[in-house]
Amino acid sequence: MPVILNQPWTLLADKTEDYAWFPEAASTFAAENDWLYGVITIVCVIFFIPIAFSLFYFAVRYRKPKGGKAESNTAHNTPLELAWSIGPSFFLVGMFILGAKAYLNHRTVPDGARDIKVQSSSWNWSFDYGGGTVHPELHIVVEEPTKLSMRSTDVIHSLFVPAFRAKKDIVPGRYNYMWFEPTVASRKVSDEELAAAKKKMKDLGEENWNFDELDFTPDGYTYYDLYCTEYCGLNHSEMQTVVVVHETQEDLDAWIKKYSMRGENEDPADYGRKLYSRRGCSGCHSLDGSKRVGPSFQEVFGNKRPLTDGDVVVADENYVRESILYPKAKVSAGYQPVMPSYKGQLTEDDIHSLVEFLKEVSEYSPAEVVAGDPESSNEEKPAEGKNATDTEAK
């Protein structure tokens, strides 16, 4: 039965691979989980078929015209009833034991597992690979146990990788942990294919990578889906990202290096734009002047900012830097002091890049000091560099 369930589910249509009962089995948990699922399903079918059969059979067989009398009026049969009360319990005990055993395996993180810190916030994921490298995609190495230390900055989220059959809630105010060991590595698509896809994306005018159409990431890896499964508000269904499983540690290191710092010849403003999407700025700060949790970057730099305490400051380099490191020191009027501090999380070069980026996107004219009009969020204006994170989830 488990084998059957894993086979393509061909009842319905031609695109067989679209009708598999399970997603791809890509972790050590998957085989055990699918097997157990199959066992339970078999037990269910063993019970269900006789029940359904006798239900309809009795309904037809003992159907009588009105006024007919029942052939039997047995009130009870204690041995029989005890039998069907106690009999199924053995199956239940079996399921419980198998399930609990496998569960303990899920809960027991093996020693020496690679630890990746996960921070979730509405509606972004960020994975911390150490050394200041933070990226919204989860990249791990095949056949290496990986532990995720997860925390949430706002509401409850839940990290779910169907291909790994693993899920854990992320509760604010505490750390939750999970682990898994991927067994199937992502494929790297050919450079031509990647280039073609990139060109296509550009031609379509889509600023962001369309994960719905392409089954590989902008770096050219095939991926597994990663979902948030605990309802977390407005864009809950868009709080998705991808898991890439690298063949080797070297491959992963190379990938990390690519994202860990500004390229040698890279323009700071361009790198700042990347940081803007990667480090979750985009969750609260828009680029098109619309008001989100925080002020739009369009109106920050070079403008006069009214503060909650009544002062007005000009947002210069120092103000921006202070706001990144000590966000609660000077809070713009009309906003809550909810921004987390990025002290120790961004290098000086990162901050410099962000400042340059802000200079680029901000409109300087002093007339723009007014806080963003909430209405303008309705305008579908694809501002340049609209964050990747929002839409990279499909």
Binding site: A70, S72, Y103
Partner: protein
Amino acid sequence: MSAGSIPSGKVRDPGYPTKSENYLTNSKGILSWIFTLDHKRIGVMYLIGVVLAFAVAGLLAMVIRLHLFQPDGAVFSGPKANDYYNQVFTLHGAIMVFLFIIPSIPAALGNFLVPVMLGAKDVAFPRLNLCSFYLWVAGAIFFISALCASQLDTGWTFYTPYSTSSNSSVILATSGAFILGFSSIFTGLNFIVTINTMRPPGMSWFRMPLFLWATYATSIIQVLATPVLGITLLLLIAERVMHIGIFDPEFNGDPVTFQHFFWFYSHPAVYIMILPAFGIISDLISVHSHKRIFGYRFIAYSSIAIALLGFLVWGHHMFTSGMGPLTTIIFSALTFTVSVPSAIKVFNWLATMYKGSISLTTPMCFAIAFIFLFTIGGLTGLHLGTLATDLHLHDTYFVVAHFHYVMVGGTLVAFLGGVFHWWPKMFGKMYSEWGGRIAALIIFLGFNLTFLPQFVLGSRGMPRRYATYDPEFAYLHQMSTIGALLLGAGLLVALVVLLHSLFRGKRAPANPWGGATLEWNCTSPPPFYNFERAPIVGDPYDFTTIEWDGENERYVTVDPEREIAPEEKPETEPAHAQSDH
């Protein structure tokens, strides 16, 4: 009281009520309904109320399904699309749970049936009964205002900290749920007292119809679990208003505490929803098979067992939220124990049908559909109770499909079966049998088409509460949406059949199905005082003396050739009650 023509032997039949006896017509005017203390009228008002609530929530469900017809959302578009979707599924869940499923069978059918089945004149506290109806109305108004004030988007579970930080009408909605909780408590309290103290002579515990047992078990849960919901919602409101820091992590609270509090009520509430359905099905299967219910005591005790075990399993809603491994495993073990009493009932119902004399009437069709659907719902619960598989399936469409099989395939279908079964008794009209059967068939097919694909969706990892989804899930979602439209059509047919009967239906006899419980011993509809004198309490499942009177299309009780026992006129009048008032 006139009796129809007598086929043969000594026939007992209450005949038809006069206009001044009929509880529907004995007093006139809108005020006679608004201030009525008659449990039957209150039951009818509840029935109208819950059906309206169901219509609203059902339409919202249609909106959800239509939206999910396309991966990017088919109904709502623009930047607020997700917001609208979230509001719609929140209101669908909240209205269905708090305004429809919980009061549907206990409050609507229970209010009508409990005293009549018991042989009492009314519930123990008629004023309290009316009060709980108006609390229900008040709660409903709060919910509707949350709908109008819009933006409630927390899901019906109000999980913190989203519900404390969300900028929406949470306080309005939770106040509504709080009020509805009290409505539910008072109803349950009333039924417990009624069943304990108002049984007429001869009505021993084990002569009670199983519907009463189920109602009794339900009432126990209502009384014991709902106060905890009350305080939880009150604390949630306090958390929003003044940030008391019990649930909100920003003030050192723990959101998981809220989940414990919430599910301590809401899991037993699942049994508030399903236990009365068990009671209805037990009676339906027995009456329409014209055969004694098999294993009366097992069914009765299993209701109580479910009620009590239901209090111990709330933790299975939080297998992934980071409880300790030992706690989690204990909750898993307890969860499995609850499945045993449910299984007992299914086997007993099948054994009741075996060698019966089955009439495939509309209520029986619904009962058969119930057993089929509930069995699927119950069995898929095993996948979720097993810890390892739950880690994969938790908060996916598998869960959605599972609880819809139990709540809709179970409770809603049983509710419909019960309404069709007791409709002649409530309104004195027979409906079109074929219309009813066709409705049952469409509902059965539509339901399966809606929710079977969702099991596959969940197994493949489609998370619930998603406004948009990956294109690989589209085919299954589209099947589901088509099924939902079919289900909606079936429900509409059922409504039309019932409404049509009110105007064009034949006059119903006292006992159209051949039931042996007490409600079939009074006229259809019952007189406002239920029973002239305390009725003769017989075996509720003894069908040997009930004969079909084909001439008048009714069942009659034919008393065997023996002297009527002296308790025909019981000495219920106490000495002190002899004085005039």
